[in-house]
């Protein structure tokens, strides 16, 4: 009986939705216009926050937490992951090659270009995916996307790009535009029993608190990854952050580096174009 009641109320709401003037989603996605609107929204919402400071997430919006953060930054907890990453980056694989051979410019100072759209494959390639592909191409076992080894590598690569503006490209290729749009869809779609989308927290309520934590603005949210979270007392890759965000809204997470997550990272990174890379970061 309860289930039928539910469906009736749902259908009523759906009917109502149709009468609302249908969203004027342009047919072909226009990333540049989206990015401009996205940025203007946050700059208008937080006029006092300097544009490049948005990459510091909650610390750009809360004074008390910023002080705690600045104090920690003197000797940050991600120091060990950074040094481990540097060492791993230099240690050759069994076949003598190193990560430097897989990446442009030897992997130094290139994090800001990831994720990029691979025209040959027709798919978005993120830094974490590229690192594991490099390992497999050189006969090494891939790392888990949510564990420390991957976080150390991406921490080091992010560190070598600190300060460089995020530079994500969406080529005028229908597949790239589709991937971008898929990421946008994921970002704004409500999920989980708590019925939140990424936007519910990071667009609608940045600066507000969920208990002890202050919500980070979506603008520049990718720039600080990977992050050392006091909550995990350990490093967190982009994949680990997306998986935990899902489970917090009681949605069953997808596999790390699945299409939706990579497209989401593609969309969100594009929104932060021009903002400096500040990874690896320390967060509550």
């Amino acid at each position: 009986m309860r289930v039928r009641l539910l469906l009736q109320s749902g259908l009523a709401a759906l009917a109502l939705a149709i009468f609302i003037q249908p969203a004027t989603a342009a047919d072909t996605p226009d990333p540049a216009a989206d990015a401009k609107a996205f940025r203007d929204y946050f700059v208008k919402k937080f006029p006092k926050v300097k544009l490049e400071d948005f990459v510091n997430g909650p610390y750009s919006l809360n004074e008390d937490m910023r002080r705690q953060w600045e104090e920690k930054e003197q000797f940050p907890p991600y120091e060990f992951a950074l040094e481990a990453g540097k060492e791993m980056f230099a240690t050759p694989f069994r076949n003598g090659k190193t990560y430097a051979d897989c990446f442009p410019n030897g992997g130094i100072g290139i994090r800001q270009n990831y994720p990029y759209f691979d025209e040959k494959e027709g798919k978005v390639v993120t830094l974490e995916l590229a690192l594991n592909r490099c390992r497999e191409a050189n006969g090494e076992a891939p790392y888990s996307y949510v564990k420390d080894e991957m976080a150390s590598l991406t921490a080091y690569m992010a560190f070598t790009s600190r300060g460089k503006p995020m530079d994500i490209k969406v080529p005028n290729d229908p597949r790239a535009l589709a991937a971008y749009e898929d990421g946008k869809r994921y970002f704004y779609t409500r999920r989980g029993q708590l019925n939140f989308s990424c936007a519910s927290c990071h667009v609608q309520s940045p600066g507000e608190r969920i208990r002890a934590e202050t919500l980070a603005p979506a603008l520049g949210i990718m720039n600080a990854l990977p992050i050392y979270r006091s909550e995990w007392s350990g490093m967190g890759t982009t994949s680990r952050r997306l998986v935990t965000c899902n489970s917090q809204t009681r949605a069953v997470p997808l596999d790390p580096q699945s299409d939706e997550y990579r497209d989401l990272e593609y969309f969100l990174s594009y929104m932060s174009n021009g903002l400096p890379i500040s990874g690896p970061g320390a967060r509550p």
């Binding site: 749902g10 019925n195 989308s197 519910s200 507000e208």
Partner: protein
């Protein structure tokens, strides 16, 4: 501390939590099996839509646990609730198919 409010969706989810239990007739294993199968089918559909809920999974597991302990009343109730949760997650996926565009920053 402002609690995040998000309209009728929240009440929809809350209503589901207070799923009523079955009338007094003792549930048999067959009742449970049927309800469990229905719940699993709904959950499979939610999985196809990439929109499962962790609470559905937990309730399914609880149903199976009660069943193995022989408590079919509890197992049946849990299976019913799991089905309702799975159906709600399916409804969420379908209703959000277009509605997400309303939230996009323009």
């Amino acid at each position: 501390m402002r609690i995040l409010s998000n309209g009728w969706n929240m009440t929809l989810a809350a209503v589901l939590l207070i799923a009523g239990t079955m009338p007094a007739r003792a549930a048999s294993e067959a009742d449970f099996k049927a309800a469990y199968a229905a719940a699993e089918a709904a959950e499979k559909e939610a999985s196809a839509l990439h929109n499962q809920w962790t609470t559905t999974e937990a309730t399914l597991a609880a149903a199976k646990k009660s069943a193995s302990a022989g408590d079919f009343d509890a197992a049946l109730a849990a299976a019913k609730e799991a089905e309702a949760l799975a159906k709600a997650s399916i409804f969420q996926a379908t209703s959000e198919k277009e509605r997400w565009k309303d939230a996009v920053i323009r």
